[in-house]
């Protein structure tokens, strides 16, 4: 196929992990680099793939090592392979997009990173390598994807008031939505199970709590829906 000249390219994985805290912005997980290049700078988690592990295993391991996070949803995003991405070697990096409910995960920085933190997508620090570009692409994908697959639920608590879902969509899409029409649409998909519980905290009338229906989720995940928000 190709002359067997020795190839000098490294393979890495990186992860853009989104988390959502109610009433706040959409957040992204960043780690502070403990080694050069960009030592002390912020970057998305990631690292070189080990010889014996599959790509997704590699991302999960790196996430674990660098931040303690185990994402609920994780899918391949895009592979970045330009020759000048890394000042040391040529590195081809397979980027993943992950979703996490941060209230179920404690963040800690392990050996491989000096620190790990959530940052609002609107207030990101300057990032190492081409990571800002990777995040931009991830955000675009998330915004598109949430409109035809029910992945948003991965960011919410197991039981959540309807308004959480509403705010999540508002936040991710960055656009006002009509509460009545939104509720009708979501309800029509049959994705939500009503529980008998109600939200306690906060002022105002307590909202019913919902869980989401895993079977319906799978159905809609496969066939997709069309959910344009006006």
């Amino acid at each position: 196929m190709v002359p067997q000249k020795i190839q000098d390219i490294k393979v890495a994985v990186d992860a853009v992990i989104f988390g959502y805290f109610d009433k706040k912005d959409l957040q992204i997980l960043l780690i502070k680099r403990s080694i050069d290049p960009f030592k002390g700078g912020w970057a998305i988690p990631g690292g070189l793939v080990l010889d014996h592990e599959n790509l997704e295993e590699a991302v999960r391991r790196e996430l674990q090592e660098e931040s303690g996070i185990k994402p609920d949803f994780l899918e391949q995003l895009y592979t970045f392979g330009n020759v000048d991405r890394d000042p040391r070697n040529r590195v081809v990096s397979v980027a993943y997009l992950g979703l996490v409910n941060p209230s179920y995960h404690e963040l800690f920085a392990d050996s491989d990173a000096e620190d790990a933190q959530w940052f609002s997508v609107h207030k990101l620090p300057k990032l190492a390598f081409d990571h800002q570009n990777i995040i931009d692409i991830a955000l675009k994908r998330l915004r598109t994807k949430i409109q035809y697959q029910p992945i948003g639920f991965n960011l919410l608590n197991e039981e959540f008031p309807f308004s959480d879902l509403e705010n999540l969509y508002r936040t991710i899409i960055g656009q006002e939505i009509d509460r009545r029409n939104f509720r009708k649409k979501i309800m029509s998909y049959g994705l939500l199970n009503e529980t008998k519980n109600v939200k306690k905290e906060g002022s105002g009338r307590p909202g019913k709590l919902f869980t989401f229906n895993q079977e319906k989720y799978k159905e809609w995940e496969e066939q997709g829906f069309y959910f344009e928000i006006k």
Copy 2:
């Protein structure tokens, strides 16, 4: 980030190239391997990335070398990185999806391949490596994508009768479509420019020839449309 143990993984690119001949099935470009493993077997074009070239450059070079094809449309599909993909080394392969109008491209097998041929997606030979899997994923992507982006035009001649577009959709989606509704919908997007020419060959009433509107294409490519075919 990660201990600098020497990594032993190779980086390759592969391409699933679709071509469409009027009145025929959708076709895929395959090459006959001239080296082991799978020597003499059929595979999708591809090969190792050179140190100094970007990923997309690598695919284009390999396609050129192995078949003489320069795809009109080419985008990254997915990266396949399981540990056991290749019996020799570990190879991570970045797969691309390409579209070509075969009547504008002569196929030839160059030094790197014994032969290069179009195969109907419905009559593929047994394929090397995990290439059948890659093709399955590419087909799925093509079928989905053609329903929200106007990429189909890349498969047609520069001037084409409306029925070509119709048949193309029928073929790719593998489903009957309503001619009247289809035409209305496509026309409403403003993607087509009517020419003064008509199709000559074939029996029956000659059809007007159309070209497609590059500017509108770009618009719709970015914003996407929603085109479910019933």
